[in-house]
């Protein structure tokens, strides 16, 4: 019945183990995110296959486009499960899509490792099929608040996109700032708009924040930096700028924002300066070699999901979903960013391995992300925050 | 049965109608003549409700219809054709014929009989299933005329119905018209074809610059010096 995938031929179902990949490859999602996921997962699979595969079989990646949209994601999951018959799935970088996808994973009882979507609800729902190797919003917002407290910021402005990630974080931050009595204001903006001047003016109208939190992804993230700089709002001596999205670590940042990104503070779960594990550097090198660009941490997440799945299947000794899930729960595996384990107590951190978050700062124009200094947390910091004159 | 009182209409600086008064009695055939741009079509548009008059009123069977919508006037029994043809271009000839009848909720049999008869009368039966836009201009004008007849109007207003007709066709048209008139229909006809209008009309109204220049017996109007000067040349 299922002879669609050419090349592997008819005996395919016995000879290979099918792994599903999912992520946005086309708009309205962020295709750059999906592309990195797909590339890094393929990289891991190729490496594993070169080493003899899993249970003596090759792994094969079936990557579906979710467009970052709930319905499309749902449909893509259905396809992976009912048509391609994959044994496990990993990926996704948009919370809205991921939340729809986990429902399908649960309904069909297929293990699903979310690689890069941060919404608390994904793991908080407590579905036993669902795992995550990315930070969640609760943790992310906690780190931001810790950062704010450590550096003594007192007046915060937040500009956030209208996605689940953006809105979710604003809610969490609001709550904590209120508790701690830190002054703040916030605005939610559409990801499609490109002129954020009105919102930036509104935020700073009769108000001079000392920290601007830029909770945006993609083009919006860059444009907020650029336009805040043009308006002379941030980063300045008075107002620091923090970028929450992965985009700060993309090499495009200098071409797109120019001098505006100098002094921007950003977060990343990975920096070569913080030596995580022995796997990190070879993976980064292999990725550069293969795809001719520097990986962002998204790629590391994607890469790890495959390692984790391979390891679990190997230990389970079968591709039965329940056994893979059981094996996943017992994971203790060195990934590219640390030793992965999945906590079992319910809550946002259920089945969620939380990687470290590093806060970095660019101090030179055209600085490579790898050369940026770590400014927080203090135990790994390589430098103090530089304040522009 | 139809009466207009002090009808005036202007477009920007153009005074298209100026205090026009006249009355149409049942079974009359009124001819309207006048130079180009004298306001004839505007008069028809105003009577049927396409334009709102600036001033004046329109009475139909002792009912003031000045401000009722277009389609209600049609349903009351005022039919019309247009100088610039307004057929349902992509509907077939046959479908064009049925539209008015459907609005009157005629029985299927009645409307089909009536449509066939009219098509036969003007020799368009062979084009029945052709889209209206594929007819020659003369054929389109004919179709518009018989389509208006499907509305069973008591009074029909025609705007240059014979323009572009072959003389034989004009004769057929006149015969049809007179026959319908005998059966009780009233007509108001705008026409530049003098012999034709002279043959059919019972009364002639000459309009110039939006005003009624003269009205009355066709012969008298035709030979009137003012009319000749303004219109016939």
């Amino acid at each position: 019945e299922d002879s669609s995938s050419e090349g592997t031929g008819s005996e395919s179902s016995e000879e290979v183990i099918k792994i599903g990949g999912i992520g946005p490859l086309t708009p309205p999602g962020s295709p750059e995110l999906g592309e990195e996921l797909q590339q890094s997962m393929q990289l891991a699979i190729d490496e594993i296959n070169a080493d003899g595969g899993v249970l003596g079989k090759d792994l094969e990646l079936y990557f579906e486009d979710s467009s970052g949209a709930p319905e499309k994601g749902q449909s893509a999951m259905e396809k992976l499960i009912t048509k391609e018959n994959v044994v496990a799935i990993a990926g996704e970088g948009h919370s809205s899509a991921a939340l729809a996808e986990i429902e399908v994973a649960k309904r069909n009882n297929v293990p699903f490792i979310v690689a890069e979507a941060w919404s608390d609800a994904i793991t908080e729902k407590g579905y036993e099929q669902v795992f995550r190797v990315a930070p969640n919003n609760t943790m992310f917002s906690k780190r931001i608040v810790e950062f704010v407290e450590e550096f003594g910021y007192e007046n915060i402005s937040i500009i956030a996109e209208d996605s689940d990630w953006g809105i979710g974080n604003v809610d969490l931050l609001k709550q904590q700032f209120e508790e701690k009595g830190i002054k703040f204001n916030s605005t939610i903006v559409s990801r499609e708009t490109k002129d954020y001047v009105p919102q930036l003016l509104e935020l700073t109208e009769n108000n001079e924040p000392d920290l601007l939190l830029n909770i945006m992804t993609g083009v919006g993230a860059y444009l907020v930096v650029k336009q805040a700089h043009e308006l002379g709002i941030s980063p300045t001596a008075e107002t620091a700028m923090f970028m929450g999205g992965a985009d700060a670590a993309y090499p495009e940042i200098w071409e797109t924002t120019g001098e505006a990104s100098k002094y921007v503070i950003w977060q990343t779960p990975y920096s070569p300066k913080a030596k995580f594990t022995d796997l990190t550097e070879p993976m980064v090198e292999a990725f550069k070699e293969e795809f001719d660009r520097n990986p962002s941490y998204v790629a590391l997440h994607g890469y790890d999901t495959v390692l984790i799945l391979a390891d679990a299947i190997e230990r389970a000794g079968s591709t039965d979903p329940d056994e893979i899930i059981a094996a996943l729960e017992e994971t203790k595996l060195m990934g590219t960013r640390g030793e992965v384990t999945f906590p079992l107590e319910k809550g946002p951190d259920y089945h969620n391995w939380l990687p470290d978050l590093l806060f970095m700062q660019y101090t030179e124009i055209d600085q490579a992300p790898d050369d940026a200094e770590i400014v927080f947390p203090s135990n790994v910091a390589t430098s103090d925050i530089v304040i522009p004159e | 049965m139809l009466r207009v009182e002090n009808l005036s209409k202007h477009f920007g600086g153009t005074q298209a109608l100026k205090d026009v008064n006249f009355e149409v009695k049942p079974k009359e055939i009124i001819g309207i003549i006048g130079p180009n741009g004298s306001g004839k079509s505007t008069l028809l548009h105003t009577i049927t409700g396409i334009h709102k008059p600036d001033k004046g009123s329109i009475w139909y069977e002792d009912k003031n219809i000045t401000s009722i919508p277009l389609e209600d006037r049609a349903r009351l029994g005022i039919g019309r054709t247009f100088q610039n043809l307004r057929l349902f271009k992509r509907l077939t000839v046959w479908e064009n014929m049925l539209i008015p009848a459907i609005q009157l909720k005629k029985s299927k049999k009645d409307m089909e009989e009536q449509a066939s008869e009219l098509l036969n009368l003007v020799n368009l039966t062979h084009l029945k299933n052709e889209q209206a836009q594929n007819l020659s201009i003369g054929q389109q004008r004919l179709l518009e005329f018989i389509r208006a007849m499907m509305l069973d109007s008591k009074i029909v207003l025609l705007d240059e119905p014979t323009a572009g007709f072959h003389p034989n066709m004009i004769q057929t048209f006149i015969d049809t018209l007179l026959e319908l008139n005998r059966r009780g229909k009233t007509f108001v006809i705008i026409e530049h074809n003098i012999p034709a209008i002279m043959e059919v009309s019972t009364k002639l109204i000459a309009i110039a610059a939006g005003e009624v220049l003269m009205s009355g017996n066709p012969e008298e109007v035709h030979s009137d010096a003012k009319v000749v000067e303004a219109y016939l040349g």
Binding site: P70, E78, D162 | F88, P100
Partner: protein
Amino acid sequence: MEQLEKRILAVLLVVALFLPLFVDDYALHIVILACFFIMMASSWNLLAGYSGQVSFAHMALASSGAYTSGLISVHLGIHPVLSILVGAVVAGLVGLFLGVLTLRMKDSYLALTTIAFAEIFRLVISLEYKVTNGKVGLSVPGLFGDITSKLPYYYTAIGLVVLMVFFGIYRLVYSNFGLTVRSIREDEIAASAMGVKVVRHKIIVFTISSAMAGVAGGFLAHYNQLVSPEMTTITQMGMVISMAVIGGLGTFIGPIIGGLSLEIIAEYVKEFGNYHLMIFGLILILVLRFSPQGIAGLITKFHNRKKKKVSTSASTEKEVQK
């Protein structure tokens, strides 16, 4: 209705009846989605193809039905069968409102104004996330609980809905009402001069087709168990229009064929990864460019050609007899 249309419909019906016996779940899933699009395309065709009101708000109307149904089934615990009906009524009312609002507009104005309406709608449901759950989408109960193995149930149910909707459209289109509506499309002034109640007809069509969209939207919501603003994007609307036009606008069978074939094509080109939308766009362009009358037009042409061969020989015979 033409013989040819009848024959095609009969074939489709038979195929639909026996389909579940031969295909896997995923294929059934695609067919269910196709049914949704067919309903959308057909009801849009009623609006645009027959009455000439080219609206881009059809997906927004479906979405209004879907959200209504979803929200009341979640909050009031009403069974989806009922809530879908309520959704349809609400969509109909929104359609009525929109119809009145755009009554005096034509052609491109109407098209672009309805785009504006759809965009506002999408903006509101994205931003009022406290009620609608924003871009994440609203989780709603399934029509038959939440187990996928009930796919055949859904298949049967949507089959019935499709039949009902089609019956409605069929009755409207092949009636005096349908003919009158087409005359409005051709020339509103001429139509009113022939006694047609233009306003009433336009609004009725708008309302009915909106309610149909509402049913389709509601059904999809309770099948997917999810409603999200994604449904209302111009791209999605463009898909529906493409289906109607590629199938053949202003024909009964067109949107059915169009919906089915485009959904299948869309599914098939997914194999091409991130090339898939590009290829899809290309297919759209090529089909339109080389068969502007749509697939239905193509079929009639082939059919007629065959028939003509027969009839020309018949007419020459006649001539000979003379």
